[in-house]
């Protein structure tokens, strides 16, 4: 997966990592059982303190989304915890609420909002979906 860190964002780096891995698993970009680079490798790749990476993965491990196998590395869990898809849904939902608030500020009608949603759904399709 490609990480995208924004050190100047208000969101702490470790939470950016947590959120992005959750999203990657929820969307299937990271598959159950897939090996995740070591903290050290990620620290070198992303140029951030390895403790930040450890903090993120400790949280993800507590959620059951990743597991560490001693001597082998860290992996996306084979059996994903119940509700992991809901995590992804919550994020999408929060984004939608923000978009809906913006639509209301512009005094869009329900129909216009639905039309915008449909258009966004189509625009977001990747080639293999069509």
């Amino acid at each position: 997966m490609l990480w995208r860190l924004a050190p100047d964002s208000p969101e702490p780096l470790y939470l950016q990592l947590v959120r992005q891995l959750r999203a990657a698993v929820a969307s299937g970009r990271m598959q159950p059982g897939e090996r995740i680079p070591s903290h050290r490798e990620l620290a070198a790749q992303l140029v951030i303190n390895h403790l930040t990476i450890k903090r993120a993965f400790d949280l993800l491990e507590a959620e059951g989304l990743v597991i560490t196998k001693r001597g082998l590395g860290t992996f996306v869990a084979d059996r994903l915890p119940a509700g992991h898809a809901a995590v992804g849904r919550d994020e999408v939902s929060a984004d939608l609420v923000r978009a809906a608030q913006a639509a209301r500020r512009l005094a869009l009608t329900r129909e216009q909002w639905n039309a915008l949603n449909d258009r966004a759904w189509r625009a977001s399709a990747s080639p293999e979906d069509t």
Binding site: P7, P10, R40, I48, N49
Partner: protein
């Protein structure tokens, strides 16, 4: 047991006071980012560690001992890069490394060569002919080559281009991941501080203004907007969590040391009316609110 302990440290240069009573303890390996405006006292503080200067009052302990008495042994455990390193400019890079290897029994030439390669430094070049950025890189390698437990960096990336800066950071990160040591570094580059630091200390006018885990400092920061009034402004300013209040037209903009999610309730409880807008902010905006001129 501590790695660094400053207690009530002051330092005057003639009539001007650079440090006005600093308390700062690092008692376990961690990366501490030291932020502060120009003249806040950052370099003065860091120079007391190798040590290069005396405190006027107060106590400085490094590795639990008096850094002036234990200079010779401390030096082997410590790497220091000043904000303006002066090398013997007639030497070639490899001569300087040779000197370092004679001073430090733990000097790791293979490590240094690997990093020198990453920086694209040619070891046969004479120091005087290197660019400023390359001289900084050589300085860093001299500071990390003996794998010190404590790395003190004063504006390490000052004057480096973005690529060199990233390479520079990656060296520090790699050394750190290997050794699990302590880094204390002063910087104006907020992105770098966020990439490296577990803990952030803000020095302001010679005193420690903020000393917190970096994620808490970031989490508890927001900006609010509400209608301006003299009373609202006064009440908000009086609140401990308020870093700054400004007026823009008919609106009041406040910077708070409160999580964005708690801001509305917090402000309402404190001054009786809620903000109309709340926004999360980054470290840089918070720093400016805390240390900018009122």
């Amino acid at each position: 047991m501590s790695i660094i302990a400053f207690t009530g440290v002051t330092r005057s240069y003639g009539a001007s006071e650079a440090l006005r009573g600093v308390d700062l303890v690092i008692d376990r390996p961690q990366v501490v980012g030291l932020l502060g405006r120009n003249g806040a006292g950052k370099s003065t503080l860091l120079r007391m560690i190798p040590p290069l200067i005396h405190a006027t009052r107060g106590s400085v302990r490094v590795f639990d001992n008096d850094p002036w008495k234990y200079q010779e042994t401390n030096k082997l455990r410590l790497g220091y890069l000043s904000d303006s390193d002066v090398h013997p400019l007639g030497l070639r890079i490899e001569d300087l490394f040779q000197l370092c290897s004679e001073v430090y029994p733990t000097w790791d030439q293979a490590l240094v060569d690997r990093f020198a390669g990453r920086f694209g430094l040619t070891k046969q070049r004479v120091l005087a002919l290197l660019s400023k950025g390359q001289q900084r890189q050589v300085g860093l390698l001299c500071a990390v080559g003996h794998r010190p437990e404590l790395l003190v960096l004063d504006e390490p990336a000052g004057g480096l281009d973005p690529v060199a800066r990233r390479d520079f950071l990656s060296v520090v990160i790699e050394v750190l991941a290997d050794s699990g040591g302590t880094v204390l570094f002063a910087s104006h580059l907020f992105g770098d501080v966020e990439r490296l630091a577990d803990r952030i200390v803000i020095l302001h006018q010679g005193r420690v203004l903020v000393d917190e885990p970096s994620e808490r400092l970031q989490a508890d920061a927001c900006r609010i907007e509400m209608p301006w009034s003299e009373t609202t402004s006064e009440r908000l300013s009086a609140w401990k969590a308020c870093a700054r209040v400004e007026r823009t037209g008919e609106r009041l903009v406040g910077t708070l040391r409160v999580a964005p999610a708690d801001a509305s309730a917090g402000v309402a409880a404190e001054i009786g009316s809620a903000p109309t807008e709340v926004q999360a902010i980054g470290l840089e905006d918070l720093f400016i609110a805390l240390t900018g001129a009122p």
